[in-house]
Point group: C2
Chain length 237, copies 2
């Protein structure tokens, strides 16, 4: 019998550029000790804030294209600020689809951020180990929409100390039948679980997950980049 539990961490202060997240998290835990094998899931937004990577919308001048795309969105019944569209365009390597107010972009996040994410996750992991002695994994999450399904799910965009995928391909179950699903995106599932352990407007960007020790590793490991489908395999194109 396996089990999973996740608890949100309350009392984290408003994060500012230059803040050391590991220290803020340990303070907010307020004596609730981290244990070896736990996974600390952190919403991308506070990591970006601590790294000073937040864009002030007031300082953004939207291009003509951004104004047009925002107008398309408004025509499709959505509220869309042209400056926000400009930020998305700035962060995108390529716009794959733009229709009915929906922008599908290949973001730099997919590539740059999977690499930046691993650096942030490793640094925070190192800080938590130094401060608490515990060998935990750190997972940085962000929300994405899906091609075929409504709604958003959190996925892992940064990861240290956890295997991103659990590979059962080619293996069979106890009765010799091929397993139904054989290549599990465990880090993405963990990110989705963490998001259920907080109430949305509760300002609890950090969630500690227990019960995933079998995926937690001594080494920092490959990070979340392993979860990205290489461009040449992209099923969307």
């Amino acid at each position: 019998v396996a089990s999973l539990s996740a608890r949100s961490v309350s009392g984290l202060p408003e994060v500012r550029a230059g803040d050391e997240l590991a220290a803020l998290i340990v303070t907010a835990l307020d004596g609730d000790e981290l244990r070896d094998g736990e996974v600390v899931a952190i919403a991308h937004k506070v990591v970006s804030k601590s790294e000073g990577a937040i864009v002030a919308l007031a300082g953004v001048s939207p291009s003509e294209r951004a104004v047009e795309l925002a107008a398309d969105a408004v025509a499709a019944g959505q509220d869309r600020d042209p400056r926000m569209v400009q930020v998305v365009l700035d962060e995108s390597l390529e716009v794959l689809r733009a229709e009915r107010g929906v922008l599908i972009c290949r973001t730099r996040q997919g590539f740059v951020c999977a690499n930046a994410g691993v650096a942030s996750a490793r640094r925070i992991r190192g800080g938590l180990r130094e401060l608490t002695g515990a060998s935990v994994a750190v997972l940085i999450s962000d929300s994405f929409g899906r091609a075929w399904r409504h709604g958003q799910l959190d996925v892992a965009i940064g990861l240290a100390g956890m295997q991103p995928l659990d590979d059962w391909r080619g293996r069979t179950d106890a009765s010799g039948l091929e397993l139904r699903a054989t290549w599990l995106a465990v880090a993405d599932a963990a990110a989705a679980s963490a998001d259920l352990a907080r109430v949305k407007d509760s300002r609890e960007p950090v969630v500690v997950i227990d019960g995933l020790g079998r995926f937690v590793t001594d080494e920092d490991g490959p990070g979340a980049a392993e979860l990205l489908r290489p461009l040449q395999e992209d099923l969307f194109r």
Copy 2:
């Protein structure tokens, strides 16, 4: 502070056609009582088995197309039984993409099964309520690959007594900023969480999730069909 916990149910017997799943689950729980507001997540496979909807591969004759597609998969380094491909084709309304051994199909599951799923979920929910008195939600899950990411995640294909989406669109956070993610696929996140609460080859198709009471409803509700993007909005096309 919110929290989430999930425990797998051990000791469920091999499920056979005609079995009443609610009764098998209550017996396997062995005194571990279901509580109001819990979510009982069940792997699709055992629901299909109980409903006699399992296909015996030995009785399947692959078509010429299935043999070709299986050969393509083998050429791409994958192990693929032509009879399995035939079953996939039989269950598909349309093959969107077939290359390098990957089949992308619009399955009847997306439409028929989202409707069949709601019926199964409602029946099992009713059975659990009758046997235990508890008002739980029932979620039937299946594993799917993703267009842009490696690995599979469980999603909800049948649902009763739980809202599939948590809609925060247009709402702002405590500081007046628009929320980062605003339309959460909570039923899919719950399905992904449940899959983390079992070891893959442990034959534990049933997981009980606590901590999602805020999404559990008295009414059976719309079911998992609400999670499907309508064909005309499909971002994959």
